[in-house]
């Protein structure tokens, strides 16, 4: 079977299931071993196992299988649950995530070894079970096998369980076991085998094997004889079901056995897997909308066709106006309306709830508490807020940085909090909300706040600002220093933050997405970072300028003002032209010169666009300023990814391509 066509959906669904498991692990730690939680985890693990096995990813299937066993064990022995188990489960999830990543990258599982984590998972079961001594494991078949037998008993199909002892000299046990299976199959249905043939091949030490057979009572003796006849098998015994079932402490099973008639149908694996997808309650107890997974690239393609349609529509409108045919005009108007709603619809499709970005943070924050020795509640709000998929993907790293910052530098250590009369446990809040064409992301802590004097002191020492000018700065101006490159006040550089990627990188990322970041802080009460982002990157307002025969777009976000410069406005510093603007001078860049070595500067006045980027300004000289409108941002593609001066391109009304200038690259 060619499975490659299913790979994408396998990857996506597995990711979902792993995320679910991650969440549930945290719930397990928080709320203890609730059966609901464990049941949901069991289902997710089961689905993962089924899918990975179908796809032929055996390492993953094997690990999920053992995870399922461990979960099953905890579920049956909730009283023995210990929080350390969560660490083991999380480690298993990490291993599965790494496994999945490799599958995504290379398409294979080559070289993956889950050995250590499998041992830890095994310890979850045996750590309890073998507590009374190693003999328990040897006394009978393992739990998975027994569970299967119990399942059969519950469904009213009582199996015959046969214990097979291999002869000590038997070298090819797997082959013998295979022969046993064959023999069994000629009598009845082979419902369960332990160990399975592959496991036996790997571990030739197993002295005994077990098979559960659905076979009419009267045939069982003949079956035994037949198995006995296979060479290198030392002994064959029927295991009494009673002993098998009492060794699992499941009195309800005994009960069930008595009341076989009232058999409760155990869901088949397929049904279970199905149930996960349709009936699993979404976090928060809401029912999810029916969804369809579509690759972003497909939506982009659709968007491309749509923008062509918009261009054709514009031409049609022109024709209709000149033609003067009433009916034609009416149809054209209708088409224009439909096109607009199509466009809105596609834009809507690119939006996703921030939940998909946020879902990995609770786990990260949990780990941070342990590594940093901080204690805090992590609260997330506004999970349903929607934003452009592309913007969201880009924001992940920046948020990680801010969250780590809040935990490491924002919050005080628990003892210090107590000294200050604050609750020992701090709070870190991550919220999202939309307002007026923008999406806001906030990371807030209730820590010590920003120490103005320390920030200033550090900035002065680093030569970022001189003491006298800074003394009458507002708080906002001082806080702004945090974003300056080369600034870090962290007293100790930890593994978590203070490692080069500073707040300046966060600001750079946010600004490259056309957004803005600011910080608010109250001493003693906490610090809040607010990120403002455009709802979408796909459509942005831009100013169109002309250079020679070509039109270029400058994002309006980068434009401060448009001006016509007269000779008197221009000075020169070291032979470079500068423009006196407000209280300073701004360097002048002739775009024609910069792009084609053919200057636009001719007769005065010059057409100038004054651009700003953070605190810096730049005057761009162009031939002409054409228009200001909303443009559709299209990537230049991988072939031109080395090109830095242009962040993308757009298609103009006449079908020609205009490049979008990345002003930051011109400084």
């Amino acid at each position: 079977m060619d499975i490659s066509q299913y790979l994408d959906s396998f990857l996506a669904e597995s990711e979902d299931n792993l995320a679910t498991l991650d969440d549930l692990c945290l719930a397990l730690e928080r709320d203890g071993a609730h059966d609901d939680t464990l049941a949901a985890m069991f289902r997710a693990a089961h689905t993962l196992k089924g899918m990975s096995a179908t796809m032929g990813f055996t390492a993953m299937a094997d690990l999920t299988h053992h995870m399922e066993d461990a979960l099953g064990y905890i579920r049956n022995h909730p009283s023995e649950f210990q929080p350390t188990v969560v660490d083991t489960l999380l480690a298993a999830i990490d291993a599965l995530t790494a496994n999945l990543d490799q599958i995504r990258d290379s398409g294979s599982e080559a070289g993956i070894d889950h050995g250590p984590i499998l041992e830890r998972l095994a310890a979850v079961i045996s750590g309890h079970e073998a507590g009374g001594g190693g003999s328990a494991a040897e006394a009978g078949p393992p739990k998975a096998f027994r569970d299967r037998v119990i399942e059969l008993v519950q469904s009213g199909r009582e199996p015959v369980v046969v214990e097979i002892a291999f002869a000590p000299q038997c070298t090819m046990k797997a082959v013998r076991l295979l022969m046993v299976e064959r023999t069994v199959e000629s009598f009845g249905e082979c419902a369960a085998v332990f160990p399975d043939v592959q496991a036996l091949e790997a571990d030739a030490d197993a002295p005994t094997a077990y098979v559960a057979v659905i076979v009419p009572d009267e045939d069982s003796n003949a079956l035994l004889t037949a198995i006995q006849e296979i060479s290198e098998i030392a002994a064959v015994n029927i295991v009494r079901l009673d002993s098998l079932l009492t060794s699992t402490n499941a009195p309800d099973v005994q009960q069930a056995r008595v009341e076989t008639a009232a058999a409760v149908a155990t869901p088949t694996p397929a049904e279970e897997a199905h149930a996960v997808r349709t009936a699993a309650p979404a976090p928060g107890g809401k029912v999810r909308d029916q969804t369809l997974r579509v690759a972003v690239s497909r939506i982009d393609e659709f968007m491309n066709v749509l923008s062509e349609l918009v261009i054709a529509k514009t031409r049609l409108e022109l024709l209709a106006q000149h033609g003067g045919d009433h009916a034609l005009r009416e149809v054209t108007e209708q088409i224009a309306r439909l096109t607009t709603s199509l466009q809105d619809g596609v834009m809507q499709m690119r939006m996703m709830p921030v939940e998909s970005l946020f879902q990995r943070f609770p786990r990260m924050m949990r780990d941070l508490q342990k590594t940093l020795g901080r204690e805090f509640e992590f609260v997330m709000t506004g999970l349903e807020t929607e934003m452009d998929r592309t913007v969201m993907d880009e924001m992940g790293e920046a948020l990680v940085h801010l969250l780590r910052n809040a935990a490491d530098h924002g919050l005080e250590p628990p003892e210090m909090r107590e000294q200050k009369g604050k609750p020992r446990k701090g709070t870190i809040r991550l919220s999202a909300y939309a307002s007026g064409g923008h999406v806001y992301l906030e990371v807030a802590d209730d820590g010590a706040g920003i120490d103005r004097d320390r920030v200033l002191g550090s900035a002065v020492r680093k030569g970022l600002v001189d003491e006298r000018t800074a003394s009458n700065w507002t708080d906002a101006q001082v806080y702004d220093l945090l974003f300056a490159s080369g600034f870090s006040t962290a007293e100790k550089v930890s593994d978590i933050s203070g490692r080069g990627v500073g707040l300046d990188a966060v600001r750079g990322k946010v600004e490259s997405l056309g957004g803005d970041i600011r910080v608010e802080s109250v001493p003693g009460q906490g610090t809040t970072f607010v990120i403002e982002l455009p709802l979408t990157l796909a459509i942005l307002p831009a100013m169109l300028v002309r250079l020679g025969n070509y039109v270029y777009a400058i994002p309006t976000g980068s434009v401060e003002e448009v001006a016509r410069l007269a000779a008197g406005d221009i000075d020169s510093i070291q032979e470079q032209p500068v423009y006196r603007y407000r209280d300073g001078v701004v360097p002048i860049v002739d775009l024609g010169d910069r792009f084609f070595d053919t200057p636009c500067r001719g007769e005065y006045p010059w057409n100038a666009v004054i651009c700003k980027e953070g605190k810096r300004r730049l005057v761009l000289i162009v031939d002409d300023i054409v228009d200001e409108l909303e443009i559709v941002n299209k990537p230049l593609g991988r072939y031109l990814e080395q090109v830095e001066m242009f962040s993308g391109a757009t298609i103009l009304g006449d079908g020609r391509v205009a490049l979008i200038i990345d002003v930051r690259q011109l400084f």
Binding site: K634, L636, G637, R638, L640
Partner: protein, 156 residues
């Protein structure tokens, strides 16, 4: 194993691009130049709504672009490499031919200005030679070229 090739003409020479990699053949269209890129990168075009880079295959394979007479026959051959679309300007597109692998011989070290690594091989096509391009290499080594270009500009 027989492979089909789109035969592209440049000057008097014939070049082949694997049919499997050719997405479409377009008439010349408005090209928007992308400043400060390699000389053979001519710019970007609007290919039914997708912004697609276009290179001059003549310059890429080391033929002089000056010798070309602009004509109605000029075409942009759009090829796809690893989901990346790139257009190649050629003098004209002749035909699609089937070439048996056994007909393909290893190219000499340098054909025109093009080193052998950019070629799949050379095949006899009747009286004439068909130079089979390794499109992947031609389009993927651009970064290396770009670096060299920068180096040249810096060092003079």
């Amino acid at each position: 194993m027989a492979q089909q090739y789109v035969v592209m003409k440049m000057g008097k020479e014939l070049y082949g691009a694997p049919v499997m990699q050719v997405v479409s053949v377009e008439r010349m269209m408005d090209i928007t130049p992308v400043p400060r890129t390699l000389p053979f990168i001519k710019g970007v075009v609007n290919l039914r709504g997708t912004v697609t880079p276009v290179i001059d295959l003549r310059e890429r394979v080391g033929l002089s672009a000056a010798e070309r007479l602009d004509s109605e026959a000029m075409r942009i051959v759009i090829v796809e490499v690893d989901t990346m679309l790139v257009g190649m300007i050629v003098d004209s597109v002749e035909d699609v031919v089937t070439v048996e692998e056994s007909q393909v011989s290893t190219p000499p070290e340098v054909v025109g200005g093009l080193r052998a690594v950019y070629l799949h091989g050379v095949a006899q096509l009747g009286e004439r030679l068909l130079v089979l391009l390794n499109v992947n290499r031609i389009l993927s080594d651009v970064e290396v070229d770009q670096l060299k270009e920068v180096e040249k500009r810096v060092r003079g």
